[in-house]
């Protein structure tokens, strides 16, 4: 092996030595698990539709049921096993958001219910809410400024 003289050379050498994530396998697993979660959501949605519930409310019901399932699996220490297998497949759907709230709440229970569970609950989910809400406000303000008919609503 040749001599390493700089930090850049070392970084290059390390990158070449470090094994990559098995990306194809990960993508396959995240595809079918993520797809399955969405498909379960769609089934719940279809059931809501047959009962005559309106569309917006149905989507909320789907979210709440999936969040419940995810929180339940997290509490049983099963979600981390699914997450390890599926990666983004369980992270990206709303299940990952619920998991990111429930898991620190469980972990920090020993620090008490206020500064432990209450405060740490949003260590991962907090940034999601911060940037999600901020960007929605910005979107609203931009909409107000332009108020064009070309931006259609869903």
């Amino acid at each position: 092996m040749k001599q390493i003289n700089s930090k850049e050379e070392y970084q290059q050498y390390v990158d070449q030595k470090t094994p990559n994530s098995p990306i194809l396998k990960n993508c396959f697993n995240s595809f079918w698990v993520g797809g399955l979660i969405c498909a379960i959501g769609q089934i719940i949605f279809e059931i809501c539709k047959t009962r005559g519930i309106d569309e917006t409310l149905s989507y909320t019901i789907v979210s709440i049921i999936l969040i419940f399932i995810s929180a339940f699996l997290t509490a049983l220490n099963l979600f981390n096993k699914i997450g390890k297998f599926a990666g983004a497949g369980s992270l990206i759907p709303i299940t990952g958001f619920a998991n990111s709230i429930v898991s620190p709440a469980m972990e920090y229970k020993s620090e008490g219910y206020v500064m432990g569970v209450g405060a740490k609950m949003f260590t991962v989910a907090g940034p999601v809410l911060v940037y999600g809400i901020s960007s929605s406000i910005i979107v609203g303000i931009i909409y107000l400024i332009f108020n064009t008919q070309s931006i259609t609503l869903i």
Partner: protein, 119 residues
């Protein structure tokens, strides 16, 4: 039941997850950053009015991933804006997404089941 929609939700949801997986493996972004990126992209696409095309095609395949959450936020902000003016931009987003947020906070059901944390 519309099984075709279920299949479409499966495909669209799966593709959105694959994009996230590639981001994780190729960029070493932490899960928190991935979630933030997704919710922001969703909010922007929702604000432009483009996200509805994904929802129309794939149903829950578009609403269940976190981009759907971002879309709900900005859609809510714009709708409320139309009804109540400027203040609606601040109240509308969270109002529309309140169901999901409140549920996630409330369902720390380990309390009710007494499940202990174990490795």
């Amino acid at each position: 039941m519309d099984w075709m929609m279920v299949l479409k939700a499966f495909i669209l949801g799966g593709i959105i997850c694959i994009i996230g997986q590639i981001l994780i493996d190729k960029t070493k972004l932490t899960p928190a950053r991935i979630l933030v990126t997704y919710v922001t992209i969703g909010a922007i696409l929702g604000g432009l009015g483009w996200y509805k095309y994904l929802i129309n095609w794939g149903g829950c395949g578009a609403t269940v991933p976190l981009t759907g959450f971002g879309n709900t936020l900005s859609k809510g902000a714009i709708e409320e804006l139309k009804n109540t003016g400027l203040i609606g931009a601040f109240t509308g987003g969270i109002k529309a997404a309140s169901g999901g947020i409140a549920a996630a906070i409330f369902f720390r059901i380990y309390r009710f089941f007494g499940v202990e944390t174990k490795n």
